[in-house]
Symmetry: C2
Subunit: 491 residues, 2 copies
């Protein structure tokens, strides 16, 4: 059994998403799926994930793992420490798969089912080593949505479940331990409730699929992406609080505000009606186009929440703590590598390339990394000192496109007292220069909002950096244009 080796049994939409997430997290992955389209689907998922998953982080993912397609379950699972089952939702089929897996898997390997409905007890029944089977239920697209529900039964040891949680967290997932096993766990119960009600609305000609989608994405979907249900209602309750809100809405439970006390019959007629309405709504786009749009939207939403340090965005920041921002950025080399990242898909503008404001976003981030290396970090800023930019010069040398892996190299051209002059080069993987960014900064007292001397520690670190960079030969396309002689500190 090898650490960071996963077997993916079943390569559909969910299995493909798992494979992509593991590979991009540096795991070697063996996929087993006898289906004719499985290889193509998994490679498609990996391609989409490469475009979007690294883009939600501002730190670098580890080097990709190896992806293989294996014709026998035995070979796929024999070395794996994590075995993810994502075969169709039929209990007999899943049990048969577990039987084959456990004939060949190493004892102690974690076997996780992607089932949306079955309880662990159902799955473990008849198994060779039932205590090594749990539920790890993800949400599509698995490579972007953080949530995974971990469901256990009484036969799983707490240590086993905790080690499974750790693995999931190490691949960027927000693992929720479901304490009590029930059919459909938690998420799919909520989804199923909406789904049933939505089916009634379509069946009764109250709304079309497109209208229902608009109700969600123009309305409460926007709330739910960041706060969910209860925190949203807590706010609606206002100063009178949650108990008041509950009392106010309790009578509605007695009202016929739902047809859910009955189950709609999903006959061919209703299925065709929904398929027809869905075609009208979205049929002008292929599934591949919709996937690309969805993923870019998710990147934009996740990055937006990340900037606010909230919800899924707060979780992503937490993940980055364990990641390397830039190799070796903590030491002051010359030049210092301050950014290594993939250009997010939502950074393109109408000219098809990275928008000019994003160049400054990258350079600004690079400046922050440099400042952190010289001791001007979050803790320092909280004591009331920071650096403000006085002047910036940006030169564009080549175009940059979404999906490109880019790097920033940083030189400290001058650093004395409260003055700091730094120079950035943006490069692509081939080492071509894409742009340069140059900044004059001044140290400020955040309380007075006026220029001030940095602490002796920070001043010394900056002087050391400036000294190390002194006389460094810049590449010939890197031409500094700014100087403190020409600029008066005006802050």
């Amino acid at each position: 059994m090898n650490r960071r080796t996963a077997a993916i049994i079943g390569g559909g939409v969910i299995g493909g998403g798992w494979a992509a997430r593991f590979v991009l997290s540096g795991w070697n992955v063996a996929v087993h799926d006898p289906g004719a389209h499985a290889k193509q689907d998994v490679l498609g998922a990996l391609e989409r994930a490469r475009r979007s998953y690294p883009a939600i982080y501002d730190s670098m993912l580890p080097p990709e793992g190896r992806l293989e397609f294996i014709t026998s379950i035995r070979e796929a699972v024999v070395d794996a420490s994590w075995i993810q089952e994502s075969v169709p939702e039929r209990l007999d089929q899943k049990r048969a798969v577990f039987e084959t897996i456990q004939k060949h898997s190493a004892p102690g390997a974690i076997i996780a089912s992607s089932t949306s409905g079955f309880r662990p007890t159902d799955l473990q029944n008849c198994a060779l080593r039932p205590d090594e089977i749990i539920v790890a239920h993800p949400f599509n697209p698995v490579y972007l949505l953080p949530l995974v529900e971990v469901v256990q039964s009484d036969v799983n040891s707490p240590e086993f479940v905790n080690s499974a949680m750790s693995v999931l967290e190490s691949i960027g997932m927000s693992a929720l331990k479901v304490r009590t096993e029930i059919d459909a766990h938690i998420g799919d119960r909520l989804l199923e409730a909406v789904w049933r009600e939505a089916l009634w609305l379509v069946r009764d000609n109250i709304a079309t699929t497109g209208e229902i989608d608009d109700v969600i994405r123009m309305g409460f979907g926007l709330r739910w992406a960041q706060m969910g249900l209860f925190e949203t209602y807590r706010i609606a309750g206002g100063r009178q609080g949650m108990e008041h809100f509950m009392e106010q809405f309790a009578p509605c439970l007695e009202l016929p505000w739902s047809r859910l006390t009955d189950v709609p019959e999903l006959d061919g007629q209703l299925a065709r009606k929904i398929a027809r309405q869905s075609d009208e709504q979205s049929g002008h786009r292929t599934i591949a186009e919709l996937e690309e749009i969805r993923d870019t939207n998710l990147v934009a939403i996740l990055r937006g929440l990340k900037a606010q340090n909230w919800g899924a965005g707060k979780f992503l920041r937490k993940c980055e703590v364990g990641m390397v921002a830039v190799k070796g950025a903590s030491s002051i080399s010359c030049p210092m590598r301050t950014v290594e990242r993939v250009v997010p898909p939502d950074w393109a503008d109408f000219n098809g390339h990275m928008n000019e404001a994003r160049y400054l976003e990258l350079f600004s981030f690079a400046t922050d990394v440099f400042l952190e290396a010289v001791g001007c970090n979050q803790a320092y800023i909280e004591t009331g000192g920071s650096y403000f930019t006085l002047e910036t010069s940006i030169r564009h040398l080549n175009e940059t496109f979404p999906g490109a892996r880019v790097f920033v190299d940083t030189w400290c051209l001058y650093g004395e007292g409260k003055k700091l002059h730094i120079f950035h080069s943006l490069l692509n993987e081939a080492g071509d220069a894409l742009a340069t960014g140059e900044h004059l900064l001044i140290h400020v007292d955040l309380l007075q909002r006026m220029s001030s001397e940095p602490t002796p520690q920070v001043a010394a670190a900056i002087e050391t950096a400036a000294h190390a960079h002194q006389g460094a030969i810049l590449p010939d396309w890197a031409v500094p244009k700014l100087s403190f002689n020409r600029t008066e500190a005006s802050t």
Copy 2:
């Protein structure tokens, strides 16, 4: 009856949100609510809306309307062309309010109820002019979420309903005409379904309120904010399509994946349990803090979707078509005012002020407005011509903070052939200079990705602009630093 005069009857969370949206859309608003806290609540909503609502647009809202608090319904409604009722959800109370309103309102005035549950027929019953009453059901926060459900009964004329839809669209709302009246319309049926299921999950100790919220916001809430339910599932169906997806999941409807076939008893014990869990989850923040966080998150999500021209973001862009980007920006004045906007709350960085990359975002937007004025618009870009930036210089003169109303004035310093040199000043409302941005641009052939001559029309318009700006005296803090003599076009 005055155009653009609204009466808000009931000034709670929903009424306050309506008042804020109308005022910020340039309507004069009279609020009637005898409650002790109503005035404070409505002013609080307006304050929050001022901070967030203008921030979702890149164009200017009209000047604010006047907000008044009126002690009698008669005086509040007598001049109003739109009367929004948001009193508590009790049918007798609502009917009494409609009776008083219609004694004094002008015939033809639109009376809209915010009811989440009642049908128009229920509300119209007993009314003096039932055909002037409809449902316009919004979602909290009313000043940010675009959705409003418009529900009619048989007594409302199509013209009346259409004119109500137009008014709602004119205040930035995405009005969905609900064709058939049912209890709770569409949105609240879906919400009620989730709510009932969530109550069971809490009651049965399966999950806490915090866990349920995390399931939503780490999982499907992120999908729903942009695509809703059916389009999301269409993708999950993959190449086999929507009908296959339906068939695959049909059996689940027969499974006990929901407790919704039964209704939980919302007794005091369950209400207290939920209130206690909600306190643990969110009680360390006041409602005002949560409102501010929610609104900033919504601004970030909406702006993210807007950049992708998708869902609620696509709708916001459509709203802007009818708005004035900048007063008089279509004509080439000297300087030309190219930006008038409020700094969005999500543009702040850890120093508490507008992040430096946002300065370039503003200047980049200002450049686009200038280019549009000289004929380099979307249609032109689609023919394969555009301008790329070669070099940028930014100087920071003063700090800028979220919520500030800022302006950009633009000079065309040079424009000949494919070369363009423009200079921007960022100002605050007092006219203080905050920063300057200067850009050298070159015309390109988007297909060849090489520099090229603009069309004669665009070249002539730019030369006219450069000529008009020639010899213009820049303010003394505006010091151009760039020149084409020092830069070779390298694209």
